[in-house]
């Protein structure tokens, strides 16, 4: 039943079929979506009516491809921007948190750590409404007492960034502190002993050690942000992110242009995955 233990033939075949079905289940929706992005039909379904790139490049009365659809392009751009800000901020604050929780001793550390993990069990919708609520209250308060209108406290780009940042940071804390816990503290001591300052130690020893974890959590943070829907839904203003835009289009009746967008996303993330795989292989060989 494991690599070293023989099993009966029926068991093996049955198991393999199950696994194969699982992967079919996993990839069917993705593959179908990709294939239909190239179907020369006005609806994202079969039968196959021939190959076309219309859903990417066309711009006539009937069909507008992804690259000609300014709304889609702008929401894509906004998602990129959101993803960038969120992952940079989460990476910085999350790494700081990991250092605090792993390497420092201070009062209320346990309670603070508990709080830092809490977003894992707070549904995204709740995070969205609670941040919406308190930013609106804060905005109203400032407006009433000081007569200043702070636009970013209303549903807006910055609120989306803050909302996503609030739970993605938890993820960074977890990944970086897991790596930091495995860090051999004597490396830092050795560096100190050889005359390095505290700052040198972090710059030359600890950060290089954490680098793979930092790169990994940056990528995953970006993807979490890019694909986020549940929290964003409540915080989004006029700058819609891609998932919100796609959502409203799906509700209004879908055209294969959505398949084209999905294809780009699937293709892009596959490239990222391959890149990641190669990077790790190179790292391991070193």
């Amino acid at each position: 039943m494991i690599r070293t233990l023989p099993s009966s033939k029926t068991y093996k075949i049955g198991y393999t079929i199950f696994i194969a079905l699982f992967y079919v289940f996993l990839f069917a929706p993705l593959i179908v979506t990709c294939v239909l992005a190239f179907n020369n039909s006005n609806f994202p379904t079969l039968p196959w009516k021939g190959f076309t790139l219309d859903w990417f490049f066309a711009n006539n009365g009937q069909r507008v491809g992804v690259f000609e659809d300014s709304d889609l392009l702008s929401s894509m751009y906004i998602s990129f921007e959101t993803g960038f800000y969120v992952s940079v901020m989460s990476l910085i604050v999350g790494t700081m948190g990991a250092f605090l929780f792993v390497q420092e001793k201070f009062r209320f550390k346990g309670a603070l750590y508990f709080l830092a993990l809490a977003p894992l069990v707070i549904p995204g919708v709740i995070l969205g409404i609670s941040i919406l609520l308190s930013s609106t209250i804060a905005g109203g308060f400032v407006d009433q007492h000081f007569g200043i209108d702070i636009p970013f406290l209303r549903p807006s780009f910055s609120l989306v960034v803050l909302g996503q940042f609030s739970f993605i940071t938890t993820f960074v804390v977890l990944v970086v502190s897991a790596k930091l816990k495995k860090f051999d503290g004597t490396l830092e001591e050795a560096a100190l002993n050889l005359g390095a300052s505290r700052f040198d130690v972090i710059r030359l020893i600890t950060l290089p050690y954490l680098k793979p974890a930092l790169i990994g959590s940056f990528i995953v943070s970006f993807l979490m942000s890019f694909g986020n829907f549940n929290t964003t839904l409540f915080l989004v203003g006029s700058d819609t992110t891609l998932p919100i835009d796609l959502y409203s289009r799906i509700r209004d009746g879908s055209t294969p242009v959505l398949n084209a967008v999905s294809f780009l996303l699937i293709f892009g993330t596959s490239l990222l995955a391959v890149f990641n795989l190669i990077y790790n292989n190179v790292k391991n060989k070193e």
Partner: protein
């Protein structure tokens, strides 16, 4: 070793800002506002009206319980589907392929929930791909209504949750020494006994943490129930959305949000108590 104190505060302050401004205060606001409502004159007053509304309207009640029960069901189904896969990847398939198979698992997460849901819609709807092939092969004459019901919703929820279950299970199985299974088998245990007595207990921490994350994600999901569940698939997050965005009744929405939060924390707390795990351990 002498510690530079200000260095510590440079690290501490952003973390405190994050946790208090974005987690603690918003939830306090949520809690406080769930006890406010407007009286006849339109003034804001303290009241239990929001919670009364919840308990007096059976639709709310029904949706709430239904959401909880379905979330548990989806968590369980996700475990059933993914456990054999996790075992296969970590213990059965040759090491050469295990990395690749594990990487493939990440795809649905990487492309995002929306794209996967869209893919399922294309597959399942009346004019969808599955119906197309079934009609073509002559198995059915009229298209089946597979979308917009509980089954399609559950499929979508299981699909988007699988990764979060399988990764912790795989990591706890990876830490398990193969010789334990070899020893058990050598001592005459059947496959079923080995799975039940050796493998599952060993994977328990991973199963618990996977279940917590999956349960929470499913319970708090809006997108999948909304798009795959159709009109009558009432999900509690949809009620919250309606209160907030459609009816603009934020106080009642806050109360609903708070109830959902209470539900998720109490079920997770209960699960941790039953399985004897600690929260910090389970999630890291």
């Amino acid at each position: 070793m002498s510690k530079i104190k200000w260095g510590f505060y440079i690290f501490l302050i952003p973390v405190l800002l994050w946790l208090f401004l974005l987690i603690v205060f918003p939830h306090i606001d949520l809690f406080v506002n769930s006890f406010r409502s407007q009286n006849n004159l339109g003034d804001s007053i303290w009241s239990l009206a929001n919670y009364k509304a919840f308990f007096s309207d059976s639709v709310y009640w029904y949706t709430f319980v239904r959401t909880a029960v379905y979330s548990i069901l989806v968590t369980f189904l996700t475990f059933i589907v993914t456990f054999p896969v996790a075992f296969y990847i970590t213990k059965v398939v040759s090491v050469k392929f295990s990395g690749f198979l594990a990487l493939l698992l990440l795809m649905p997460f990487w492309v995002g929930e929306l794209v996967s849901v869209y893919g399922w819609m294309i597959l399942l709807r009346e004019s969808g791909i599955i119906n197309f092939f079934l009609l073509k092969m002559g198995i059915i004459d009229t298209p089946l209504k597979m979308l917009y019901n509980d089954i399609s919703m559950i499929i979508g929820l299981v699909y988007m949750s699988m990764l979060f279950m399988i990764v912790p299970i795989m990591s706890s199985l990876e830490g398990m020494d193969d010789s334990l299974i070899e020893a058990a088998s050598d001592l005459g245990a059947s496959k079923f006994t080995i799975i039940r007595k050796i493998v599952i207990p060993h994977a328990a921490p991973g199963i618990v943490s996977g279940s917590i994350v999956v349960f929470m994600l499913v319970l708090g999901d809006y997108l999948t129930p909304d798009l795959l569940g159709g009109k009558n698939a009432l999900w509690f997050t949809e009620q919250i959305y309606n209160e907030f965005i459609a009816s603009f009744n934020w106080n009642e929405g806050a109360a609903f949000g708070f109830l959902l939060l209470a539900l998720s924390t109490s079920i997770i707390w209960l699960a941790l108590k039953i399985t004897n795990q600690s929260f910090e351990k389970a999630v890291s």
